[in-house]
């Protein structure tokens, strides 16, 4: 708009400074001429510097071709009136009062503009991503954070769909989408927070995590037109959390892969952590173990010393090793255990850790090795001795029998000769038994049902006179997994145990034979228990040694032979005195691993 100004005072200066430096968007003024009587008026001087025409006569302004607006800034009402009258048709006129108002308006607008600028700066200064969305989820406003994230400028993003830009989706999320509460916010007018949406906001190639807040904006009361969405990056928090989870998982995998039993109890003795091996001991799941105490899991005796050992480790404040034996379902488990206090970051003891290694098998093998060595040595010796001793014994028998044949009646030596003969024959029996024992008999291993072996043996045994006054209780499993074995030799073992038991009760009493599956289905067991006086505790460990016997008769080889047979079957045999009296023998054989 071609404009001429009359009056070059301070007001004029301010106005043209403003126009030149900022421009008036609302009113584009093209100031072409400034008139003032005073040549040195500040507005005139400024205009001269800017190359705007100046004059001293107000009449000049009307000569300006294409003039559209005249602004009067003299501040003189008379001048203003004259100029207004003088103003030709079609040329607008603004006097100094109007200019004042106009100026004030500009000032207000300027202030608003500055404030908006300020707000924008504040918005941009927020490190989070902020955007304002309309009802259709179109982006209206963004902050610098948004641009940093997406690489889109304000102009580029305006009008784009939020889900397209941030979620890489073509269509808006459904109202029911738990991952995007936009609709809900819009409908309810309530602010929504999504804590840590992972994998939701994506920039290609990078997974980012944000806490998202959606705040409804009301244009007027109850009318929501926009939603402010902020994204607070929480990558580090997520990563940290992941690390914590991974550490826990690593720990879990670590302890669960261990064959050893590993557990942590709190100071009240409740299980806080337990690995699978620990839980397996009780046939439980790990989660069923947590919170329980030793007294809820072990028989009272074992629970007492377990608690005592834990206390000891806490008291001493350092790892302590124990050799422990627990009895679970009549199965003895030998453990090598380390117990040590568990401390928190402050160094305070908060629990007790326990790592137990099952050394049952190891102990058994060690004992078997010792026994096997002993037996092998005896076997070799026996064969050698037997061979060498036969000829002298032949001689002794021949000469003694010869002497006996020649004795006169009433010769007191007759009895002596008979003793020599009797004892020589006893030597013969010992040698024979020794060789039976040392003989390397071949085994015929086949798929064997122990119930059948027990049944056959019982059929044999029950006919014998020694069992006539004995009550035989049978407690046989309906089904047993097959074992690999020599039916006859296993039958011999069972026969041996039964005859032993019968002798133990001296022909009168009760014998119980039972078969069952033990060791979590891995092994089959045959037990023979009697109601006899039991075996003295100090020698019970030796009953399987050759020539060991508690009976007046017998050579003490029956159990040693049985032991050898069971060992060659990969099993074990053990003897124990029962609490209720009598002895129990257990033969345990591994289940046959069927080839699939």
């Amino acid at each position: 708009m071609k404009t001429a100004i009359v009056g070059g005072g301070r007001g004029c200066l301010s106005l043209i400074e403003f126009i030149f430096e900022r421009g008036l968007v609302e009113l584009p003024l093209d100031v072409q001429l400034i008139c003032d009587l005073e040549e040195n008026a500040p507005g005139i001087a400024y205009a001269a510097e800017r190359g705007i025409a100046t004059g001293s006569d107000p009449e000049e302004v009307f000569k300006l071709p294409g003039l559209e607006l005249v602004i009067e800034l003299t501040g003189d009402d008379g001048t203003a009136a004259q100029l207004q009258q003088r103003c030709p048709q079609g040329v607008r006129f603004m006097d100094h009062d109007m200019a004042r108002i106009f100026w004030d308006l500009i000032q207000v607008q300027q202030k608003l503009e500055r404030e908006r600028e300020q707000t924008r700066k504040i918005l941009d200064s927020i490190p989070d991503i902020v955007m304002v969305l309309d009802q259709e989820m179109r982006i209206q406003t963004i902050n610098a954070g948004f641009s940093r994230l997406t690489g889109l400028s304000s102009a580029q993003s305006r009008g784009e769909f939020c889900y397209d830009v941030l979620c890489r989706r073509r269509a808006p999320p459904a109202a029911t989408d738990a991952g995007c509460p936009f609709r809900k916010v819009f409908e309810t007018g309530k602010r929504a927070e999504l804590v840590q949406v992972s994998d939701h906001v994506k920039v290609p190639g990078i997974e980012q995590h944000f806490d998202i807040t959606m705040t409804p904006l009301e244009e007027e009361k109850g009318k929501i037109t926009q939603v402010v969405e902020t994204l607070h990056p929480v990558n580090e928090r997520v990563w940290l959390q992941r690390e914590v989870e991974e550490a826990a998982l690593r720990f879990r995998q670590f302890i669960d892969s261990a064959h050893d039993r590993i557990s942590i109890k709190d100071l009240k003795g409740r299980y806080q952590v337990a690995n699978i091996a620990t839980a397996k001991t009780f046939g439980l799941k790990v989660e069923d173990l947590i919170g329980k105490t030793a007294h809820e899991l072990y028989p009272p005796g074992s629970a007492d010393w377990i608690t005592e050992h834990d206390r000891e480790a806490i008291k001493q404040g350092k790892p302590i090793s124990f050799k422990e034996t627990i009895t679970l379902e009549s199965r003895e488990i030998h453990l090598g255990t380390v117990r040590f206090p568990l401390r928190d970051y402050k160094g305070d003891v908060v629990g007790v850790c326990n790592i137990s290694r099952d050394i049952t098998q190891e102990r058994r093998l060690q004992r078997q090795l010792v026994q096997a060595d002993k037996l092998a040595a005896i076997g070799k010796l026996a064969a050698g001795v037997a061979h060498e001793i036969n000829n002298p014994l032949t001689g002794i028998l021949a000469y003694a029998e010869d002497l006996l044949e020649d004795v006169e009646n009433d010769d007191e030596r007759e009895e002596d000769y008979q003793v020599i003969i009797r004892e020589t024959l006893r030597c013969r029996d010992i040698v024979k038994n020794l060789l039976d024992f040392a003989r390397q008999t071949t085994h015929r291993f086949e798929k064997t049902d122990l119930r059948e072996v027990v049944g056959n043996t019982l059929a044999l045994v029950l006919r014998q006179a020694i069992f006539r006054d004995i009550t035989l209780d049978q407690n046989l499993a309906d089904r047993l997994p097959a074992v690999s074995g020599d039916k006859h030799q296993l039958g011999q073992v069972i026969l041996n145990l039964l005859v032993n038991a019968a002798e133990g009760v001296e022909g009168k009493g009760r014998i119980e034979i039972s078969t069952c599956v033990v060791d979590a289905g891995a092994n089959c067991q045959v037990t023979v228990a009697d109601s006899g006086p039991g075996i003295p505790e100090d020698v019970i460990g030796r009953v399987f040694e050759p020539f060991f016997t508690t009976k007046s008769t017998g050579h003490g080889l029956g159990l040693a032979v049985s032991w050898g047979i069971v060992q060659q079957h990969g099993g074990r045999i053990e003897a124990k005195n029962r609490e209720e009296g009598g002895t129990i023998f257990r033969m345990i054989l591994p289940k046959l691993e069927e080839e699939s």
């Binding site: 014994l393 028998l397 021949a398 029998e401 006919r463």
Partner: protein, 249 residues
């Protein structure tokens, strides 16, 4: 028999030779003893012995070789093997190769006399055709028959050749039910009316399942009806297939 039976005894240990001599001194035997198979062969070649008793394990020519020589040159001479308990399997092999019987060291007077008297009786027997055993059974030498029953248990009784030389049985010392017998070890003893004792070896390894209880009342049945009422024991064989190979069909 008017003259004493000539018995040659072979063993590499003098004490065994002396023992045999002592055990048999009251009996009607003429005895010569030698310490080696080679010496035995010399006497054998002279045609002197009627019965040979030889140790199985000897340095130089062993018992089995000597047996072979006797079988070749004088098949009518019964050969009794002396064995240790440890070499029972070799003794069984000797039976298969035609030995008359064997005896395990250390032996008693009765045991030795029993087997030698049977050998003597066999050579004095007229060679009339023996009554054949009624159905095809397995045999342990000339000792006993084994019949494998339908349930694969084994019934045992005296063989005809054994019955023919023992005479009347007056007592049978049976094993106990449940006893485990090794093949070739003592199964039972027979006492005969003439006061002799005879050892019957177990033809198979196995547990004793059943005894012929009738023999307790009437032991004579064992020899009178050896293939029927006089059977002895029933075994549950432990290793039938393998052990049958050691027996004559």
């Amino acid at each position: 028999m008017s003259e004493d039976t000539k018995v040659l005894v072979v063993d590499d240990e003098q004490v065994v030779l002396d023992s045999v001599r002592k055990h048999l001194r009251r009996e009607a035997y003429e005895i010569r003893t030698v310490l080696s198979g080679t010496e035995a062969v010399e006497i054998l070649d002279s045609g002197w012995p009627e019965v040979v008793i030889t140790d199985l394990m000897m340095p130089g020519m062993d018992g089995l070789e000597l047996l072979e020589r006797v079988r070749d040159s004088s098949p009518a001479i019964p050969v009794i093997m002396i064995t240790g308990y440890a070499t029972m399997r070799t003794a069984l092999q000797a039976l298969r190769q035609g030995a008359f019987d064997y005896i395990a060291k250390p032996f008693t007077r009765a045991e030795l006399q029993g087997v030698v008297i049977r050998a003597t009786r066999q050579i004095s027997q007229e060679n009339e055709p023996e009554e054949a055993d009624p159905d095809p059974r397995h045999h342990l030498g000339g000792h006993c028959w084994i019949h494998i029953e339908a349930d694969t248990t084994a019934r045992i009784g005296l063989a005809r050749s054994f019955v023919d030389v023992v005479g009347e049985v007056s007592e049978v010392e049976l094993p106990a039910v449940g006893d485990y017998l090794e093949q070739g070890s003592v199964c039972l003893r027979l006492l005969t009316a003439d006061g002799r004792s005879h050892t019957l070896w177990s033809p198979l390894s196995g547990s004793v399942l059943e005894l012929n209880e009738a023999l307790r009342e009437n032991p004579g049945l064992a020899a009178k009806d050896p293939f029927g009422e006089g059977w002895l024991v029933r075994l549950d064989p432990a290793n039938l297939e393998e052990e049958l190979k050691d027996l004559d069909l």
